[in-house]
């Protein structure tokens, strides 16, 4: 990708994504951390657009920024005020070391490997191709995913159902 727009877009979005992800680590207030996390999600969606993955980008906004972040906000609101800080455990230093090591390893590998890169432009339209793939080649995983969603939904409802209620009644 050589045109100016893609380059500027990439660097801006990458800075936004990584910067707000770092913000999630640094910020003390949990709600602000969630807002920064959403910004990071939106930045990733922007990066998808620079990769001409429009369908995935929109799904990213819909699911991550619209749904999962709201789930997280609900979880925060359902737990007490006292636990709304964003402090670290005693694992802070080992965590930092491990995370740095993993990131370094991945970065090192990705820089040092000689990837076989195909010279082709971005995708024209991805939505219909993804849809066809989902319903033909990947139909079994697709069905499994829907079963998984159902199970997860039932599991979540069962887990947090009011204490008094039981199925015998």
């Amino acid at each position: 990708m050589e045109d100016t727009g893609s380059i500027v877009g990439f660097w801006l979005l990458a800075a936004l994504t990584v910067g707000s992800a770092l913000g999630v680590v640094a910020v003390r207030n949990l709600i602000r951390a969630v807002v920064l996390l959403i910004t990071s999600f939106l930045g990733v969606a922007g990066l998808y657009i620079t990769l001409s993955a429009d369908f995935v980008a929109v799904v990213q906004v819909l699911i991550y920024a619209g749904a999962i972040s709201v789930l997280i906000l609900f979880a925060i609101m359902l737990t007490p005020l006292a636990s709304r800080d964003n402090a670290e455990t005693f694992l802070q230093v080992p965590g930092l070391l491990l995370a740095g090591l993993v990131a370094f390893t991945i970065g090192f590998v990705s820089l040092e490997t000689d990837w076989s890169v195909a010279e082709r432009g971005g995708f024209e339209e991805t939505a219909s191709a993804i849809g066809e793939a989902l319903l033909s080649k990947y139909v079994l995983p697709f069905e499994l995913a829907s079963v998984l969603l159902l199970v997860a939904m039932l599991g979540a409802i069962l887990l947090v159902r009011p204490e008094g209620s039981s199925t015998e009644e």
Binding site: R32, L62, S69, M77
Partner: protein, 432 residues
Amino acid sequence: MPFDPSTGSGLRAGPILAEWYDLRDLGNAVGAFLDWIRDQGAPDWVPYVVSGLIGVVAILLWVILSQLAFIWIERRVIGRMQARIGPNRVGPQGLLQPIADTIKLFLKEAITSRKVDRALFWAGPVLIFMPALAVLAVIPFGSGMFLTDLNVGVLFVIAVASVNTVAVFVAGWASNNKFALLGAMRTVAMLISYELIQVLALLGVVLFAGSMRMGAVVDWQSDFNTWVLFLQPLAFIAFIIASAVEIGRSPMDISEAESEIVASYHTEYSGIKFGFFYAAEYIAAFAVCAIIVTLYLGGWTAWGLEEWVPGWLLFLGKLYLTFFLFVWTRGTLPRLRIDQLMAFAWKFLLPLVLLNVLVTGAEVLIWREGDLSAGLALPIFGAVNAGLAVALILGWATFMGHMRPEHRAKRAVLTRSWARYITLHRPRQTSP
């Protein structure tokens, strides 16, 4: 006139004159201007940036003017509905009232309470603007008049609107006000539920049009000389209701139920920061009406009328009519309670729109596989879906108990028979 989709319609002979002064397509003028820039020897990126700027400025101008018009329309129409006049002092017929209000909001002090989360408190009014404006990028306002025609336009509209929940929550939480927090939680719960209805309602449109591009949906409707409204009445009703929830319109204005939680998530905002919320509400209404017009009411086309009347005028007319619908409900209906609204989404609308998707899918399959002609298939589908909509709504309402006789308090109760509820007593006169 017989219609043949492969060759294009006899009605749509194409623009008679596609010169830059052709008002039916303002895109022509922009194109001519860009060509002129290219002729001056500017580098390639200049026309690209200029065209984007023109689009953005045009949409913003249009949106702001429309929003002022919306405010005026709403206040006058509701005034009429409430047996009063409405604003008529500032300017002719009170037309300048919204501008006067804007100036007033600018001049008022924007109070920031001491215990608010300052950064997020400021972010709220800004964030609330983004989704509504972003939606407008994919709306085709007229022939060739759109900022960008995304491949996934329909999904984009839903996705961007879902960011609204975050803005509302941020505003409500940062205010450090209990009414604001209550309102924010209500709004978030509500928007999440009705987002699902919106997606499922739009699925029917996408199934028929075969594309998620907004422009393609409009073209499909104009190609087959029909509006999706006639093919998808149930989805249309569901989408209107879900949209009313999204823009906080009565009877779903629980998000800003002023008789219960004061002003909900913007209770603590004053001055121009409140003005931002107020404006965003109308811009969101504009965006939602534009989506409805584009996807259900044929967009800027109207059975060949766009050959004679500029398409963007048709679009505008439909937009205002759609908005009138929302004003009408606001002027006439009381508000539901939050649990009733959620129950309505999950127990009433969701099964109906799911069934609608199933039926629509079957119809599209029959149409494609059965090689039916559009002139035969579409009227049949429309009739079937309309009948289905009526039957499903009435049947499901009966099943859910909304039509039980005790819910139908007859007027005769008070005027003639005094039956079920109110009894009249005539006690013996007792001497004091």
